[in-house]
Amino acid sequence: MAVEPILRMKGISKSYYGTKVLDSINLSIMPGEVHGIVGENGAGKSTLMNILFGMSVIHSTGGFEGSIEIAGQPVEIKSPLQAMSLGIGMVHQEFMLLPNYSVAENIKLNREVLKPNFISRIFGPKLQSLDYDQMYADSRKALERLNIGIDEYALIAGLPVGHMQFTEIARELDKQNLRILVFDEPTAVLGESEADHLLQAIKEIAASGIAVLFITHRLNEIIEVCDNITVLRDGRHVTTKAKQDTNVIELAELMVGRSMSFATRQRQSSHQGRPIMEIKNLSVDMPGERVRGVNLTVYEGEILGIGGLAGQGKIGIANGIMGLFPTSGEVKVSGASLELNNPSASIAAGLAFMSEDRRGVGLLLDSSIELNIASGAMFGTGRFVKTWGPFSQVDQAAIRENAEKYIADLDIRCTGPKQHVRQLSGGNQQKVCIARALTMNPKILLVSEPTRGIDVGAKQLVLDTLRRLNAELGMTIVVTSSELAELRSICTRIAIITDGRVAGILRPDDSDVNFGLLMAGQPIDKGA
């Protein structure tokens, strides 16, 4: 082959604290190629890009194995600055723009065009003036390559998000030595027509000879613009395929895969209880996890899973129902309407919540285990409190007794009920959260990310506990989790949330293809 790959990454492996997150990834891209990278959350996409960009998080955790070549030359990328000088550009998911500067100033930020003036001739080049005419002209040129009508004089502050995204791209295009451009989920914040426009722009950028790395979970976009597609899963390189050799369904299947260590729950004999919670048109304004009109019914005695990719809104549902973020819509618990935006009302209606932010929202880290376990019921229902008219005192003996019961039942490893929760391991902290929720004696238990940040052995224990509660006490449980395998191991039904809405409800033993398609925002083809 006459043309050399512009970028070649060979045998890239990376471990964080002994956990392997990338395992021998190989990647090579030709100039002018659009290369897609797909994978679930945690598949290793961002780690790979961090390595390519020389981010300090890589080097401060022991570096990586493998080699990187740019245009045939082996390079060691030690810092983002060096990556830039090698011609690697990146369009970030979060905008790195100064709101009170104009589009052109942002495009030229720290690369301003300078011209000498009277003072700089005497005191040196640090005091040169900005050549605004040239800066505006250059910016205009970069924006025109994107074929977008943004005014280079406009301030960033007033622009729609889509235009901010294009400004970021223009900034990269304006760099004369740009050879490789990385897009990290660029369409996540864009509307449909803007996304189309962006895809068009990506094609044109590639046509000018720049290699594009395109990271997204929207499979139809990948198919539309990419020449080649690499699928990552659990840090491993699953496959690299040319566009014409694959399709959305195959990609979805490859992305989800069946690498689970958990056994998938068997389809249950379809005994469905009465509806216990009905959610209609629920919208939750939770930053980063916006919910935009969810309709969902929870049946008594089931374990309902809520899955989907990060940022699609699955986390927002339980938080909204519990009144922790501004919420609108309608929620009925056992037929009675629930007052929204009021945590006390949700607790009074018999809902208990185990937050995904265990250390921030779920626990009082510097308080005792017994107080943590009792607190939910104490404030929610006045249990553990003795009252005399307007005066009340907490019932320490009852709190102790309750804590000791749960420490034994759930096997919480601690020195005693007085130990502070901060000193416990993640798994035991999660058990304290479970004990706290159970002490509230809920009708429905809402659990968010129950296994986040706890080690593998403890994960299984926590999941078993949830399953036991459901089987033995008939408790209705709604589990939200980013780990599909986990949901499939304990749930009776799984709702997949995409773009703030329910994309579909699946059985745990439905095919990988269907899960993958729903998570990627594709309708399930009934024939498939």
């Binding site: 006390s344 929202v361 009082l364």
Partner: protein, 353 residues
């Protein structure tokens, strides 16, 4: 055991201060100072400041940080005191208040002021989350300045309080005339050798501390402490964090009002105008020396802090004077260094988890 664990909480800065106190005590003995008098006067000072230091507790526990604006409460207490004296004057010939009753009337009069001011102040602190201490300090300074005007224009007629010429109330108002001076100190007071124990004063502080202890174990108290230690957890538990912070602020303000009356009766005068300006700093420094942080405090911290800081304050002056005979402000200077140093130290620790 509780005291032991509180000492364990103390970090290096507090240990240095405790060591300094021990050093001062040894020096006082070695210099043959009048130990009985030092002990008597320490006990009195601790009693005088006890309730004011206690006023820091609900503020810290509810999450608004040490109440640098407790001058608001102090001013309410002074207002209650003045109103009581005015009432006694106006009712002369109709009702003769025994001193004990008059003291209670002063406290009763100060409560509605403290309650209303506390609610407003709490509302303000809820709007400036994250910079409560800074705002509180300036609220304190401002109210003292505003009250300087008010003291001049308030329509008090009692000649014991008024300037002989012109209008307004005096800078210091003697309480002895109405029998209010040392009314708590002398209640059940007794002597051990030459040491005078101001029983009533210490009992008053103990009572206030006991009531606070009970409150912190009530449902509302628990909710307040939860709101203070983790607001997001509290919200998720159905606690309205802003209400709890207002409750904490009101309690702190009320304790400030009661505290200044307890202080003034021992001092023998109500001090107006400039006097309340720097009182909050003493109370803040005391509870911090006791082992509290700007986020966490207990009754034990209040007690240890009051004993340590006011003990140093009493003992340092004569010891320093004995060392530097011709530099008599040395004691005052060392007290200021400790007071402000400890506050500074605690603030630098505030951000770290």
């Amino acid at each position: 055991m509780r005291v032991k664990s509180a000492f364990k909480d103390m970090d290096i800065a507090r240990l240095i201060i405790a060591a300094f106190f021990v050093f001062l005590c040894i020096a006082a003995v070695a210099l043959r100072l009048n130990i009985s008098e030092l002990i008597s006067s320490s006990l009195t000072q601790m009693g005088m400041w006890g309730v004011l230091v206690l006023a820091m507790l609900p503020a810290i526990v509810s999450g608004t940080g040490p109440n640098f604006g407790v001058s608001l409460g102090i001013v309410c207490g002074l207002l209650g005191g003045l109103t009581a004296l005015e009432l006694a004057y106006r009712m002369e010939g109709v009702v003769a208040f025994p001193p004990g009753a008059l003291f209670l009337v002063a406290i009763l009069f100060s409560l509605p002021f403290a309650l209303l001011v506390g609610i407003g102040y709490g509302w303000l602190l809820n709007r400036v989350k994250g910079s409560e201490m800074m705002i509180a300090t300036y609220v304190g300074f401002s109210i003292v300045s505003i009250m300087k005007l008010a003291w001049v224009f308030l329509p008090f007629k009692n000649p014991e309080m008024a300037w002989p010429i012109g209008r307004g109330v005096r800078v210091q108002i003697a309480l002895a005339n109405r029998g209010l001076a040392q009314i708590l100190n002398n209640f059940l007071a007794f002597r051990i050798g030459d040491v005078v124990v101001p029983t009533g004063l210490l009992l008053a502080v103990a009572l206030a501390a006991f009531l606070m202890w009970l409150f912190l174990r009530s449902q509302t108290g628990m909710a307040m402490a939860t709101a203070g230690s983790n607001p997001r957890f509290a919200e998720a538990s159905g606690i309205v964090v802003d209400h709890q912070r207002i409750i904490g602020t009101v309690l702190s303000t009320v304790l400030g009002a009661v505290g200044i009356l307890v202080y003034s009766q021992s001092y023998g005068f109500l001090q107006l105008y400039e006097a309340p300006m720097f009182m909050p700093f003493v109370a803040v420094a005391a509870i911090l020396i006791g082992g509290a942080s700007v986020k966490k405090a207990t009754i034990t911290h209040v007690i240890i802090g009051t004993v340590l800081f006011l003990g140093i304050q009493v003992v340092a002056v004569p010891v320093a004077n004995a060392f530097t005979a011709d530099w008599s402000s040395m004691g005052e200077i060392s007290r200021k260094i400790i007071q402000n140093g400890v506050i500074l130290y605690a603030l630098t620790q505030a951000g770290g988890e």
